[in-house]
């Protein structure tokens, strides 16, 4: 390849190597870019260096994803190959690339095909990176043997004799207790701890990582290592796992059970046992019993019990709790089997490295992920963790520039003054903002931007590297103020430049408030982990009294309350007291009477033991129960034991649940729940008359793509006459906007139950704005330009009404001077436990993205557990085991328009604006939809009853499309497609945006304007029309929160009617206008946001808005 692309990919000179892709592509047209793609594809096939291949592959993804679509001469609509799509879902990326490339050669380039190629190249690039990490972990010395053990008789480990030594046969076995701190990343060196970055750019992979003990302010007397892991031999041939904090325990008898990571809450314990080599990963699938393995390990008739306890550090703390828990489990298991030199005390340096590499292995096994600094709690105090170039003898040598595992250098006096450590402890306040977030997409964005060398992101990365050096210097100089200023600069500069999504409105508002409250005594902010909102740190003047931390907590709580309507919080914020841990992970062997389990253990296991007959208990268990009653057993282990025991053994909690059900009833009444309809749906669901499979049209239906004459191409410059027509209608008061805002952000937050309309999803005009604010700002711009008041209606539901109403009031209708009306929802459904039939259909029949090998195993294990749950909870039973609002569901956006009729809002609109004739209806997440006069003019000109805006399909646009069904054009919902392949014959996708002729709409309902004040007539009309529109059964995810920020996701069955099915009605004259993507794109998931900014959509939206 002779182009600049190859020069950049193979350059050793950083000035050339770090050229951004955007700069390379800027002067090129479609033909040049396609030629460059051919060259890049050939290059990646022959390149020997992994990172040259990966970078070339991501270049290809970005050219197809952003650079080509940016060019106006690229044709928009094209066809997608279903074969290629299936290959994409099955992670057969190279085949998918070949299929889509053949399509491109055959049919010519199009936005559609480019989107498919972009997805395939992107998937392939990340697959290569993940494969390399996996290979490196497996080939690390000390880990390889575990993959060779294929039979229990080959287990080469033995329990250390100290763990089976006991005075008498009924004496307790000794307990080995490992206590492990968590880690706090002081520098946040621009996510440089992502494995891929460290392995390509080890020079930039540097962090200062602190091992910390924590105590929750107001609850714990003093900071302690938050993680405790206990291991002991038991006189039963089984593996017993117990998590005190997750209140879960299980006895495992077979090897296969150890590999069921998602069966219960003990997946991490399972992964730890495997990664420590006690049940080596090579045994997976052996079908063996555990007893022979345990006999080899600790003697005939014996087994092991592993108990973990995390001292109530909430999930999402950004303190790498799960990785350090994994490391703690691995460490205690390694000690117990002689894989460390010392049974007790801290670990040796080489042993820490083995533990760290196995924690990475364990995370891969368990289908989760972490960074290379995350097991930092295993090391003591402060340490510099720095990437290293791979050397001969390293498994990475010749493959990647850097090693998988970095070097750890402990910072101690005299390099780091002790006084500085004291200052740090007095000043830094770690806290948890309470937000529930998925950092996965952020990490992918970081990797992508790094490999593409986006100019801003790259400059940010270089500056973050300088800040690291300056932070180190400030630590050495004992300059706390400088340190805090640097971490603040890092957050507000480089980190936000690299990934704008690392921050959010909640965090920014919190910083503003803390700064305002403490003034000069606020020294700075420190972002922890992948993104802000969960774990964070504030630096206060060390002279501040302890009560300052209480004030901080109050500010946190107030800020949370302000944002919780549109931001997913898993819990209330927490402030920690912390201390620097000087030992790292350390163990102690407790023998004789001191051999007691972690606090909380007995309250968890004793109720089950008491329910068993004495004869069923082993001698050691019996003796343990006896010991509980002996004097001297009243320490930490038994704190709260009696209340917890009664709580578990008596059904007081069930009483509390009944209280929840009552309030659920109230909500159902309030929301217009139709009990009769609900029972009919339940009966149909159970009988198999309705369900996911029954949503589909019969296979005999003829479904074809629409013909050119079925659509109006309106994706280019529109004639001035239409524009004038539209302006006239607007100026004449004939138009109102309806924003559908009843949705509870099911996909946006995976079922967290917030008002999506109020999610501050993106920065516009210098600050984060909510979806609703953006929509109102677009209406304001048009209204201001024309000097008219345009009514803007926001439809709400039971789930969103109160939140939106309060927000609109607080913001004074976002400063909008035109009428801003809320249209409250009038229908709600009660979720049900799905049928096993529907779950199997969902998991096995529908085309679904296959995950990475290990993550897929975890997913399958989870699906099997969820099917068991559905069976035991009762198929079709009411879903009530959650917060009341989480048990209810909106019944589809079809109802949101009839609600305008039923709740009098349309009648009010007519009163205010008698000339009202047209409605622009759009989804909350179609952020580009606006009152474009030319589009309105087109709708008016063509005189349609309904005009639906559609866009040329891209690979991600799944879930329906515009089709000719039995010869008639209509919108076809994804749920109704006879099979997954049909959708791929359809070249247009529904945007959800509709122009409506109100008069015609009323006619279809069989109503006149005057009838709108007659509730009975309106109710009948709505019911009549509803019966003609299909009802779909869907299975959605709902979160159930428990404990400290823990969340489970359950599938629930619900039903819905969809607005697009209005196109079924023959009496409506429906037209379809093809609009540009940036107008019709819907934002369904936060992971889309990066592309949304990158492809210019965000800037376009901002140009449509006028904010108050």
């Amino acid at each position: 390849m002779g182009s600049r692309f190859s020069e950049v990919l193979t350059a050793t000179d950083p000035r050339v190597r770090d050229t951004s892709l955007a700069e390379l592509c800027a002067p090129l047209g479609v033909a040049d870019l396609l030629a460059a793609c051919d060259e890049l594809d050939a290059f990646r096939a022959r390149a020997g260096n992994l990172y040259e291949r990966v970078r070339a592959t991501l270049f290809l993804a970005a050219i197809h994803g952003y650079e080509l679509p940016r060019l106006p001469e690229l044709p928009r609509a094209g066809r997608l190959s279903f074969t290629g799509y299936e290959q994409l879902l099955a992670r057969r990326y190279e085949e998918a690339i070949a299929t889509f490339s053949a399509d491109l050669r055959c049919a010519g380039p199009s936005d559609t095909t480019c989107s498919a190629l972009a997805a395939a190249y992107r998937g392939r690039a990340f697959q290569m990176l993940a494969d390399q990490v996996r290979r490196s972990v497996r080939s690390a010395r000390g880990n390889q043997w575990m993959f060779r053990v294929g039979h229990p008789a080959e287990l080469p480990l033995r329990i250390r004799p100290e763990l089976v030594a006991r005075g008498t046969a009924d004496a307790p076995f000794p307990i080995l207790r490992e206590r492990t701190p968590v880690r706090l990343d002081l520098t946040h060196s621009a996510w440089s701890d992502i494995f891929f970055l460290g392995m390509d750019f080890p020079e930039g992979a540097r962090v200062i990582n602190v091992s910390v003990d924590l105590g929750v302010r107001g609850r714990d007397a003093r900071p302690e290592p938050p993680i405790e892991t206990c291991l002991r031999v038991i006189d039963e041939p089984l593996l017993r796992l117990c998590s005190v904090d997750l209140e879960a325990n299980v006895d495992l008898h077979r090897v296969a059970q150890v590999f069921e990571f998602a069966r219960d809450y003990l997946g991490l314990l399972r992964a730890g046992v495997i990664a420590a080599g006690l049940v080596p990963p090579g045994l997976e699938g052996s079908g063996a019993a555990l007893a022979p393995l345990l006999e080899r390990l600790c003697g005939p008739g014996r087994g092991l019990e592993l108990v973990t306890r995390v001292r109530d550090i909430p999930k999402g703390s950004r303190l790498a709790v799960s990785t350090n828990l994994l490391a703690s489990i691995i460490a205690v298991c390694m000690r117990a089997t002689g894989q460390t030199r010392n049974l007790e005390g801290p670990l040796a340096e080489g042993e820490r490295r083995v533990v760290a590499s196995r924690a990475i292995l364990g995370e891969w096994l368990g289908g989760s992920g972490g960074g290379w600094q995350d097991s930092g709690g295993v090391w003591p105090g402060l340490k510099c963790i720095e990437g290293r170039l791979a050397q001969p003898g390293d498994p990475e040598f010749g493959i990647s520039r850097g090693r998988l595992l970095p070097d750890h250098r402990i910072l101690a006096a005299p390099e780091l003054p002790d006084a500085m450590l004291e200052l740090l402890q007095q000043s830094l306040v770690p806290l948890h903002g309470g937000m529930a977030q998925d950092v996965g997409p952020v990490l992918d964005m970081v990797t992508e931007r790094y490999l593409l060398r986006d100019a801003d992101a790259w400059q940010g990365r270089l500056r973050a590297g300088e800040i690291y050096d300056e932070i180190l210097a400030a630590l050495r100089a004992g300059d706390l103020r400088r340190l805090a200023a640097l971490t603040t600069e890092n957050f507000s500069g480089p980190l936000r430049a690299i990934v704008p999504w690392a921050t959010n409105r909640f965090t920014e508002r919190l910083i503003e408030r803390v700064r305002a409250r403490f003034g000069e005594r606020w020294l700075g902010f420190c972002m922890l982990g992948g993104m802000a909102g969960g774990g964070m740190g504030m630096f206060l003047d060390p002279a501040e009294p302890p009560s300052a931390r209480d004030a901080l907590l109050e500010l946190l709580l107030a800020t949370k309350r302000e944002h919780e309507r549109g931001t997913p919080f898993a819990m209330d914020p927490v402030v920690y007291d912390f201390a620097i841990d000087r030992d790292g992970s350390a163990a102690r062997l407790a023998t004789g009477d001191d051999a007691r389990m972690a606090p909380g253990y007995y309250a968890l296991v004793v109720p089950d033991l008491l329910r068993q007959r004495a004869g069923q208990l082993g001698p050691a268990r019996r003796r343990e129960l006896e010991r509980l009653g002996e004097p001297g057993w009243s320490g930490d282990e038994l704190r709260g034991f009696l209340p917890a025991l009664f709580e578990r053994m008596l059904p007081s909690r069930q009483e509390a649940r009944r209280g929840d059900v009552r309030s659920l009833r109230e909500l159902l009444d309030l929301g217009g729940f139709d009990a009769e309809l609900h029972e009919r749906i339940r009966a149909d669901l159970r009988a198999g008359r309705i369900g996911l499979a029954q949503n589909r049209l019969p296979a005999t239906t003829t479904i074809e793509d629409v013909r050119p004459e079925d659509v109006v191409l309106a994706d280019g410059e529109l004639p001035a006459t239409w524009h004038a027509r539209g302006r006239a209608a607007l100026a004449n008061g004939e138009v109102a906007v309806v924003t559908l805002a009843g949705g509870a952000a099911s996909r946006w937050t995976r079922g967290a139950g917030i008002a999506k309309a109020l999610s501050p999803f993106c920065r516009f005009a210098g600050q984060h704005r909510t979806f609703l604010e953006v929509h109102v700002a677009k209406t304001r711009r048009v209204a201001d330009e024309l000097g008219v008041a345009i009514p803007h209606v926001v439809t709400t539901s039971l789930f969103t009404h109160d939140a939106i109403a309060a927000h609109v009031e607080e913001t004074d209708s976002f400063g909008y001077r035109g009428p801003l009306l809320l249209s409250p929802g009038r229908a709600v459904g009660l979720r049900m436990v799905p049928t096993v039939r529907d779950l199997v259909f969902l998991y096995e029949e529908r085309a679904r993205q296959l995950l990475d090998e290990q993550a897929q195993k975890v997913r399958e294990s989870l699906q099997s557990a969820l099917i068991d749950w559905a069976r035991s909870a009762g198929e079709g039973a009411d879903y009530v085991d959650n917060l009341p609002l989480q048990c209810l569901h909106p019944v589809g956006h079809w109802f949101e328009i009839p609600n305008l009729l039923r709740n009098g809002v349309l009648a009010d609109l007519f009163d205010r604006q008698p000339r009202l004739r047209y409605l622009l209806i759009h989804n909350i997440d179609t952020v580009g939809a606006d009152l474009d006069p030319a589009r309105l003019g087109l709708h008016v000109e063509r005189g349609a009853g309904l005009t639906f805006e559609v866009i040329p399909r891209r690979i991600d646009d799944v879930g329906g499309g515009l089709a000719r069904v039995d010869g008639r054009p209509r919108l076809l919902e994804g749920l109704a497609m006879p099979d997954d392949e049909t959708e791929f014959r359809l070249s247009h996708y529904n945007t959800g945006t509709t122009w409506v002729d109100v008069q015609r709409l009323l006619e279809v309902f069989g109503l006149a304007r005057e009838d709108l004040r007659d509730a009975v007539s309106v109710g009948e009309a709505v019911r009549r029309l509803a019966a003609r529109v299909p009802t779909y059964v869907t299975v959605k995810d709902v979160k159930r929160r428990w404990g400290r920020g823990q969340e489970d996701v359950f599938p629930v069955a619900q039903f819905e009617k969809l607005w697009g099915d209005m196109t079924l009605l023959p009496e409506f004259d429906v037209q379809y206008h093809v609009v540009p993507r940036r107008r019709g794109q819907q934002l369904k998931e936060p992971a889309q946001l990066d592309a949304f900014v990158r492809d210019g959509s965000a800037a376009f939206i901002e140009s449509l808005c006028r904010f108050a």
Binding site: A153, P156, R158, G277
Partner: protein, 292 residues
């Protein structure tokens, strides 16, 4: 370097009677294990054998040695303080010269006509260095042996420079510290139960006993120290070693010797007969119980 002395350890709690067991040697003669070991040693040119025994065991060993008893020099180990201590007890008897050391609970089945001890002594004499006999062993057996790590000596097919010695390492340690380039994955060079040691081994051992708790001294740690200080070689043996202290160890050793010796056909017949009888019983529906 001349090797004329040997050391046999036979005082361990579980092993002191093992050399007194009788087996049928390859030539068909019934002999004690001790006598078979002495044949191995004497063939290597050894003139005097120090045998570390539990006090009072000497007469039984004299009887078991039969006509080779005159070559024996008994060293009593007054207290059972471990393997390293047993070797240390023989310091005076060995008199500061290089010596061949065999553990008394192993039997060695040679691959060729020449004995393993003879080959080992020959190598030590040529190299003028400590040489331990080793055998590539699968990692799940590591819990039973001391093991060495190092590099192959250029130009030598079976000779290694020892860099590390670890006692019964876990595979985690072995992978990190005992890696030997060229060896099959999952295999390590484990001790064969036969060594030629120079006086420096006894010096290092003595230093350890002078400085600490005798029960804490591990011979492999001493060898590890020696390997760091001076040239220490390992020779990969072609023969096989059998640990008689293992479950069925004596039976396995006897079978191995029998199948290589004069009575090969007879031994095979016996094995086949046992198998056929078992199969017949099974087919007749009376599966013998595990302890039958």
């Amino acid at each position: 370097m001349d090797v004329r002395k040997a050391l046999l350890t036979a005082a361990g709690a579980g092993q002191r009677t093992l050399p007194l067991q009788t087996i049928v040697a390859g030539d068909g003669r019934v002999r004690t294990v001790l006598r078979v070991l002495l044949d191995e040693v004497l063939e290597a040119g050894i003139e005097e054998v120090a045998v570390v025994v539990r006090p009072g065991d000497e007469p039984a060993f004299v009887a078991a040695a039969a006509d080779a008893a005159s070559r024996l020099h008994f060293v009593p180990q007054p207290e059972p303080l471990g393997y390293a201590h047993a070797v240390h007890c023989a310091t005076d008897a060995l008199g500061g010269v290089p010596f061949l050391h065999l553990v008394g609970d192993h039997l060695f089945v040679r691959a060729g006509a020449s004995g393993d001890a003879r080959e080992l002594c020959g190598m030590a004499q040529r190299a003028a260095a400590c040489v331990s006999a080793v055998q590539p062993t699968r990692e799940h057996e590591l819990v039973r042996f001391g093991a060495v790590g190092g590099r192959r000596v250029p130009g030598e097919e079976r000779l290694y420079e020892v860099q590390r010695v670890l006692e019964k390492p876990t595979p985690t340690q072995a992978e990190q510290e005992l890696h030997v380039p060229g060896l099959r994955a999952g295999h390590y060079l484990c001790f064969f139960g036969m060594h030629v040691w120079t006086p420096s081994v006894m010096d290092a051992l003595d230093a350890r006993f002078r400085s600490g708790d005798p029960r804490a001294v591990v011979l492999s740690d001493v060898l590890d120290e020696v390997a760091r200080r001076e040239r220490y070689l390992a020779l990969e043996m072609r023969g096989r070693r059998y640990d008689l202290g293992d479950r069925y160890g004596l039976l396995a050793a006897q079978l191995a010797i029998g199948l290589r010796g004069r009575d090969r056909e007879r031994v095979l017949d016996t094995v086949l007969d046992v198998l056929m009888q078992r199969e017949r019983t099974r087919l007749e529906g009376a599966e013998p119980s595990g302890d039958a």
